[in-house]
């Protein structure tokens, strides 16, 4: 049986005391797999991502989260990121004041150690580290076919290309778990196909991927497992084939079986 990398136990998060966005949700994800979370708007998918990433203080939610064999419920967002959890966003959050290359170089942050004093004086160690960061970042830019755009201001790129920069930045952090919130949102069919190939490439590099997505073609083609949420609860969980056959899922979310490609 595959090793569990992410274990969610009884996640509960309410807003304003009454609106329960995530309600006693539990699931696991195996290392090296692609898992998709689907559900109608308001199902609690984005809140789930925010809980895993550590957006909320522990006192604001119930349950426990384990990652790579250790409990991380109390850890802050940047501490979780340092352990190997990172994300890409529904609406891209590239660093608009930087070039494409610099964006990806920021992704290397948790893999490097230079401190402010060393950086100011620019000791030999810093020069070597900067060269390492640069060369590694170029590798990730090549992975998304953007090496020729390295020097461009990221803001000057089309939206779909900015998404690729964001993905390159995320994988530059060498994550164990990459959470992608609606990666296909705003992309045309050609870009979505390229994205699908890229996600497979990321998975083949041993990175576990958790996707929140509405694009059913993408979800069914990429996922090893699918988790269906409705009104903050788990409605179903299983392989794409199992989910496509699940009558409750069809009734509550998909409406009709022909919704699958």
């Amino acid at each position: 049986m595959a090793e569990i990398i992410l274990k969610i136990e009884n996640f509960t998060k309410a807003f304003g005391g009454s609106l329960v966005a995530v309600d006693n949700l539990s699931f696991t994800q195996s290392r090296g797999t692609v898992k998709s979370v689907i559900g109608p708007n308001g199902a609690g998918k984005t809140t789930l991502v925010n809980l895993i990433m550590g957006y909320f203080h522990k006192r604001e939610w119930g349950g426990r989260i384990y990652f790579d064999g250790q409990e991380i419920s109390e850890l802050k967002k940047y501490e979780r990121a340092s352990l190997g959890i990172t994300e890409t966003y529904q609406l891209v959050k590239v660093f608009k004041n930087m070039s494409v290359m610099e964006n990806v170089m920021v992704g290397m942050h948790s893999r490097t150690k230079g401190n402010i004093i060393e950086n100011i004086i620019r000791v030999g160690k810093t020069v070597r580290e900067e060269r390492f960061i640069f060369n590694e970042a170029m590798k990730y830019l090549k992975m998304v076919n953007l090496e020729e755009r390295a020097g461009d201001e990221v803001e000057s790129l089309p939206y779909g290309t900015q998404k690729l920069v964001e993905i390159a930045r995320a994988i530059a952090s060498n994550p164990k778990l990459l959470i992608m919130d609606e990666p296909a949102a705003g992309l045309n069919s050609f870009e979505a196909k390229e994205l699908s190939e890229l996600i497979m490439k990321i998975r083949n590099n041993g990175i576990t991927v958790l996707i929140i997505e509405h694009n059913m073609d993408l979800v069914m083609n990429l996922s090893d497992e699918i988790l269906v949420m409705n009104l903050g609860k788990k409605l179903a969980e299983g392989s794409p084939a199992e989910i496509q056959r699940n009558k409750e899922v069809i009734r509550a979310y998909l409406g009709e079986e022909i919704g699958f490609a």
Partner: protein, 335 residues
């Protein structure tokens, strides 16, 4: 395309990366040579004084550029940090009889400690809140130095502050002071250049755009903001130290909240997100008041008008817009 971009693209080959990196250092060397030549070209003491004030003002604008421009911590209290350095060293040298160099050590220690105490809660604030908090800090500092007669001399200030001396050498002449002040200024500019183009600098620039995205990459935003705030306060403190030992007399009026607003306005006009912009800011901060001396009552209105003009026609500030223009001209010529 600017030099940095060229460096990035050409850096596919390491030797070329070094070549373009060296171009930036060449700029620093050329700038240092220009600064070195000015006292040789002019014997006029007035111009030397202007030069010294420009170096001090450049450090103030640079310190604001690091915290506000690069890290997004809007500070409207920088005159207080500038004054802090001036008062710490003035008190150490005049009241306790230490040397100016011991005064400098005290500036580092006290500015740093005060920056930690103020910065720890403050840098957690965002947007307008941090601006308001720093504005309040500036007002409190101004009130304290004005009212604490026994230590700061109150409204009369502190007189007879000695010139800086080290290794039995005193910077008595303005020419010596000029070279010393500019040496410190260029070292600070070089340090800032290294910083913004490093792991730490990129982390800060990332935080300024999206704290969420930065933290998702393992960046502890609070820790980085605190560090840059401390560095910014220390830089402003050293500017205050240079100021106090140059004019040898300080009073609260030199560090009023009004100065904080003027420094911020000029930093924005000059390009607050640019290291060369700090030099432009230093020049403007020195030269504009000289021109506006006759219209002191309207000074703040003039700065406001400049700010509006800059926001409309030079949104990234004069320096960055000039760099863009030069980049376009060079590009056209090459084609």
């Amino acid at each position: 395309m600017n030099t940095k971009d060229l460096r990035l693209i050409e850096s596919k080959k390491d030797s070329k990366a070094i070549k373009f990196e060296n171009l930036n250092y060449l700029f620093f060397v050329s700038f240092a040579v220009c600064v070195f030549l000015i006292p040789i070209l002019t014997k006029n003491e007035y111009y030397l004084g202007i030069g010294i004030f420009t170096s001090i003002n450049t450090i103030i604008v640079l310190s604001l550029s690091l915290s506000t421009g690069y890290a997004g911590l809007v500070s409207i209290g920088h005159a207080a940090f500038f004054g802090l350095g001036a008062y710490i060293s003035a008190i150490m040298t005049v009241k306790f009889g230490t040397s100016a160099m011991i005064g400098l050590m005290a500036v580092f220690v006290f500015s740093g400690v005060i920056a930690v105490f103020i910065g720890f809660p403050t840098v957690k604030l965002k947007g307008y809140y941090i601006a308001m908090a720093t504005l309040a800090m500036g007002a409190v500092f101004f009130a304290v130095v004005k009212e604490w007669n026994s230590l700061t001399g109150g409204v009369d200030g502190i007189i007879n502050i000695p010139r800086i001396s080290f290794f039995n050498y005193t910077l008595e002449s303005d020419r010596a002071y000029y070279y010393f002040a500019w040496f410190i200024c260029i070292v600070f500019l070089l340090m800032a250049y290294h910083l913004v183009n490093s792991r730490t600098g990129r982390a800060l620039r990332a935080i300024a755009v999206s704290e969420d995205a930065a933290e998702a990459l393992g960046i502890n935003s609070h820790w980085y903001k605190l560090q840059i705030f401390i560095l910014s306060v220390i830089f402003a403190g050293v500017a205050g130290w240079l100021y106090a030992h140059f004019i040898t007399y300080i009073s609260p009026t030199s560090f009023s909240p009004r100065l904080s607003i003027i420094v911020l306005a000029i930093a924005v006009i000059a390009s607050i997100k640019s290291i060369p912009g700090a030099v432009t800011g230093g020049i403007l901060l020195t030269v504009l008041p000289e021109f506006l001396r006759a219209y002191e009552d309207f000074e703040i209105i003039v700065y406001g008008a400049f700010l509006m003009f800059s926001a409309m026609f030079f949104p990234d500030g004069i320096t960055v817009e000039m760099e863009k223009l030069l980049g376009r001209l060079t590009h056209n010529r090459n084609n």
